[in-house]
């Protein structure tokens, strides 16, 4: 990614503190410390790191579901106030509406955005086809496999064409083969649409195969450790990424980083547990 591109997301000196526990003895925990990064328009950024190190907090801040305790979260140069409906959010759980068929689930996002019925039906049908679910339009979610449900939830997000797609370990619960297929599909969707994607994973290979840049986060408190550009050419093939020259090198580099994190965790600097409780 060149420097000339405009950044769509910017985090400047962002801290986030969560308070939990009872009201007599509330526990404050630092989830994110001094996060500082920008995402250029059209970039595919992946975030890796041990669980509980503030990855989801970053997404929630960009989506406007949380406000920073300190610092600035900018979207297209403006501070985010309230929910950021310019983005799409794909979670680990598919979060489909069980009482709606596939096509009606895809239409849901268009409905709440007030898209007229005819456009809605056309767009929904188009995106169901795009994710390869033709023939399953009238099925209910419980009649689909996990991978198919995930595709519906991606189609539902793509249907309203958000500028930025936030994905929080979307392929986490899927089996290895389905994951590969979906990674490959996501890559070709991204090659077509060139949306900006911020994608959380704890699968190192997944983070490399998809990304323009990989952001490694570390724990206790959650902070950005390093950001690595991935110099592998597009379009990429998720099935044969191991054979691409340069893959091993970047993999080893990032793995060194993550290994340190895991070792640090093993020494007792646990992530999910309390940080500073005074």
């Amino acid at each position: 990614m060149g420097d000339h591109q405009t950044s769509i997301i910017e985090l400047h000196g962002v801290y986030k503190v969560f308070v939990s526990g009872n009201k007599r003895n509330p526990i404050a925990m630092l989830a994110l410390q001094n996060a500082e990064f920008t995402v250029p328009q059209g970039e595919f950024l992946t975030i890796v790191g041990p669980s509980g190190c503030g990855k989801s907090t970053v997404l929630n801040l960009i989506a406007g579901l949380m406000q920073p305790s300190s610092g600035q979260v900018l979207y297209r140069g403006g501070e985010i106030r309230g929910i950021n409906t310019q983005v799409g959010y794909v979670t680990q759980d598919d979060n489909l509406l069980p009482w709606r068929t596939v096509v009606k689930n895809v239409e849901f996002s268009l409905e709440v955005r007030g898209v007229a019925r005819r456009d809605r039906e056309r767009l929904a049908e188009e995106h169901v086809r795009q994710v390869g679910l033709t023939g399953f339009e009238q099925h209910y979610p419980h009649e689909l496999s996990g991978g198919m449900r995930k595709r519906v939830s991606i189609a539902r997000t793509l249907a309203y064409n958000p500028d930025v797609i936030l994905m929080d370990e979307p392929f986490g619960p899927l089996d290895a083969q389905t994951r590969l297929v979906l990674q490959d599909q996501l890559l070709s969707l991204w090659d077509e649409g060139k949306q900006t994607v911020v994608f959380i994973t704890h699968d190192l290979v997944e983070s490399i195969v998809l990304a323009n840049r990989v952001m490694v986060m570390s724990c206790s408190p959650g902070r950005i450790k390093n950001i690595y550009p991935v110099p592998l050419a597009h379009p990429r093939d998720a099935f044969h990424i191991h054979e691409v020259p340069g893959f091993d090198h970047i993999y080893d580099q990032i793995w060194q980083d993550i290994r340190e994190e895991i070792l640090a965790q093993g020494r007792g600097a646990s992530c999910a547990s309390n940080g500073s409780s005074r």
Binding site: A63, G64, L65, I83, N84, T85, V87, G88, Y89, T91, D93, N95, L97, P98, W99, F108, S109, E111, V112, R113, Y140, H142, T157, Y160
Partner: protein, 274 residues
């Protein structure tokens, strides 16, 4: 034979086997049910006077005779009518109010949090304890029974619908918010549909509560009603009369809950988990 033809044959055979098994299971189920009913009735009919005292047990034939006699003489109808009105109106009012009150929840969560302990306390009152007071206030007519029945239905439906409204995951709501859903849209398109299976189940439970509430009220004090009929039978040591009343209530209760079966089926097809 070609492989595809063979596969078709296999499929056809398996399909037939499946259907045959399902049919057999169905027949067996109904045979057993009929047998159980027949055995109970026969034991009751012929055991009375032999195994136990007919003066206490009554007999199935006696129950039918009593029912026919009451129907012929016309004395059954005022009782039946009163109870029917109490049950149906109490059910309708209670269920309607329960759904309505629960549906206000998404619009007034703070208010709900304030009043929740009161609702909980009121929920805990044995409704039978209210009946004497209601009789004191509203007299011996239909009103107090109708109120007991509707209060009982109200709580069943209200509590379950609230649970259903709270069953939608926060993450799903957040995803919808990011898509641009307003509070009203979240309520109509996610919260209400999430609550529907809970509400329908509660409505089935409430059909039994309505009958129970009406009869409780009639037991405390009433001039007419199936409960009165049962009480009268008991004080006259006429078991056939008591069982005739019980039979009427059973049928009423089954009919009321049976009305909701198609609705439950419809929901079950969409969301078999629940």
């Amino acid at each position: 034979m070609s492989v595809p033809d063979f596969v078709e044959q296999l499929k056809e055979a398996e399909r037939e086997l499946y259907q045959r098994r399902a049919r057999r299971r169905h027949i067996l189920k109904w045979t057993l049910r009929t047998t159980i009913v027949a055995v109970v009735i026969l034991l009751w009919q012929f055991g009375a006077g032999a195994l136990f005292d007919e003066g206490f047990s009554g007999t199935p034939s006696g129950i039918v005779r009593t029912l026919v006699q009451f129907a012929r003489s016309g004395s059954l109808w005022p009782d039946l009518q009163s109870t029917l009105i109490e049950v149906l109106a109490g059910y309708g009012i209670g269920v309607g109010a329960g759904i309505f009150a629960a549906c206000l929840l998404p619009f007034s969560r703070r208010f709900y949090n304030v009043v929740f302990p009161f609702i909980q306390a009121f929920y805990g009152i044995p409704k039978m304890a209210l009946a004497p007071i209601l009789v004191m206030w509203f007299g011996l007519g239909i009103a107090p029974k109708l109120i007991v029945a509707s209060i009982m239905c109200f709580f069943v439906v209200f509590v379950n619908t609230v649970m259903g409204l709270n069953s939608a995951s926060e993450e799903l709501l957040n995803v919808a918010r990011v898509m641009g859903a307003s509070r009203l849209q979240l309520t109509y398109r996610i919260l209400f549909p999430s609550a529907l299976p809970y509400t329908v189940t509660a409505m089935r439970v409430a059909s039994a509560s309505a009958v129970l509430g009406a009869i409780l009220g009639e037991f405390v004090a009433a001039q007419r009603g199936v409960g009165v009929l049962i009480n009268r039978g008991s004080s006259q040591l006429a078991p056939n009369t008591v069982f005739a009343g019980v039979l009427i209530l059973t049928v009423l209760s089954l009919l009321l809950s049976g009305l909701l079966v198609p609705m439950e089926r419809w929901i079950g097809r969409r969301e078999p988990k629940q």
